[in-house]
């Protein structure tokens, strides 16, 4: 059986660098799993629930980093001289990563809260703003899905990406 034309022209997008990065990541994930679940002792106060923190804290930092990258790339696209679509693609990809990791943060956080506080959710400022940030970037991704040429989509998304960042930070630093 001969391969279909689509199969024959499909090219791998990986490079030597991304493959090495992937292998290093997998090894580190295994190492983290071993340390987090087996080698490290349970916490004096939180018991085994502390192991959720080994996932929860990195995921929230990664999500924030991804949203910062989205804002920076949106600014670079809008205000850069060449209006490079590369920045738009990085902004979009970074927002997708941010949304996935923010979802993981919310899920792992609520599981930790159920064990520690007895409830999945508490209406404190940090949790609420985190949930709002999550929904804001879901909206950003929805805007990216709107019709139009690539340039128009990029300009629109860059504006929304830039507007989302300070508003989220304003909500985070509110008084009281």
């Amino acid at each position: 059986m001969t391969p279909s034309p689509q199969t024959s022209i499909r090219r791998a997008t990986g490079t030597r660098a991304t493959r090495v990065l992937g292998i290093v990541t997998l090894v580190m994930l295994g190492w983290l799993g071993l340390f987090g679940l087996v080698l490290s002792p349970a916490d004096v106060d939180q018991g085994d629930a502390v192991r959720i923190m080994y996932v929860h804290v990195p995921t929230v930092w990664l999500a924030y980093l991804a949203f910062i990258v989205t804002a920076v790339c949106s600014a670079l696209y809008l205000f850069g001289k060449r209006h490079s679509l590369g920045f738009d693609r990085v902004a979009g990809a970074s927002a997708e990563i941010g949304v996935v990791f923010m979802a993981l943060t919310l899920i792992s956080g609520s599981l930790w809260g159920r064990i520690t506080w007895g409830v999945y959710w508490q209406w404190d400022a940090r949790l609420t703003t985190t949930a709002l940030l999550f929904v804001t970037y879901i909206g950003y991704l929805a805007v990216r899905g709107l019709d139009g040429t690539r340039e128009r989509r990029a300009r629109r998304s860059a504006v929304i990406g830039l507007l989302a960042a300070p508003v989220a930070s304003l909500a985070h630093h509110r008084p009281r």
Binding site: G139, G148, L170, R174, R176
Partner: protein
């Protein structure tokens, strides 16, 4: 800001308000809807002290939900017969367009807020106090300005058919959270809900004003890009 731009913004706002005066959509549809939302809240929460305590938040929730219809109506006018496209092609300054639409929306929302605060007195038994009136009015105006600017930015983006209308709540509601929180706390302090002092409301007015200015400036600069298709 140039006098020409201000004059143009004023004309655009007057045009929107004239259309509203003739069509009476705010009076005949949005106000009854927001009144209904207030009544439905009462059904859901039951009578007693809960309603009175939650009244400031319920008023602003009803304003927020009703503002979505008002924004959709405001931009529906422009897209129905390609008016926005005509304004763009005619070279109308996007900043003036943003300011005009936002000003008209702010006036409409201010009417809505006034009616809903009055309804809260009648339906939820809230009692305004004399020393909180200045705070109440300042909170209402600053929150309305922020909501109008926000609605204009995202209304411009969500107008234009092909399933964009459903985007509006998803975009507006998370970003409007600081307004909802600030306006609720401001009105709570003005009314003295839970024995809150009037002085506790002013930091929230500060937050509302910062929000309105930030969104207003950002929106004025970004509006041209958002409505270009």
């Amino acid at each position: 800001m140039s006098p020409g731009r201000i004059r143009l913004a004023r004309r655009l706002a007057a045009k929107d308000l004239l259309i509203e005066r003739r069509s009476r959509v705010l009076v005949n549809q949005v106000l009854p809807f927001s009144g209904l939302v207030m009544v439905v809240f009462a059904f859901a929460l039951g009578t007693g002290g809960v309603l009175e305590r939650a009244a400031p938040g319920l008023v602003w929730l009803a304003v927020l939900f009703s503002s979505l219809s008002t924004v959709q109506r405001s931009f529906g006018l422009e897209t129905a017969d390609g008016a926005m496209e005509s304004l763009r092609v005619a070279g109308v300054d996007p900043i003036a367009l943003f300011l005009g639409k936002a000003a008209a929306l702010a006036i409409e929302l201010l009417v809505l807020v006034t009616v809903l605060l009055g309804l809260a007195v009648v339906l939820y038994g809230t009692e305004p106090r004399a020393e909180g009136i200045v705070l109440l009015v300042t909170t209402a105006i600053s929150a309305t300005l922020g909501l109008a600017a926000l609605g204009t930015i995202y209304g411009g983006l969500a107008a234009g058919g092909s399933g964009r209308e459903t985007l509006l709540p998803l975009l507006v509601l998370p970003v409007a959270a600081p307004v909802l929180i600030g306006a609720t706390r401001g009105v709570e302090a003005a009314l003295g809900t839970d024995r809150t002092a009037v002085s506790e409301g002013w930091p929230w007015v500060g937050l509302l004003l910062v929000f309105a200015v930030a969104i207003g400036v950002g929106g004025a600069l970004a509006f041209g890009t958002l409505i270009e298709d």
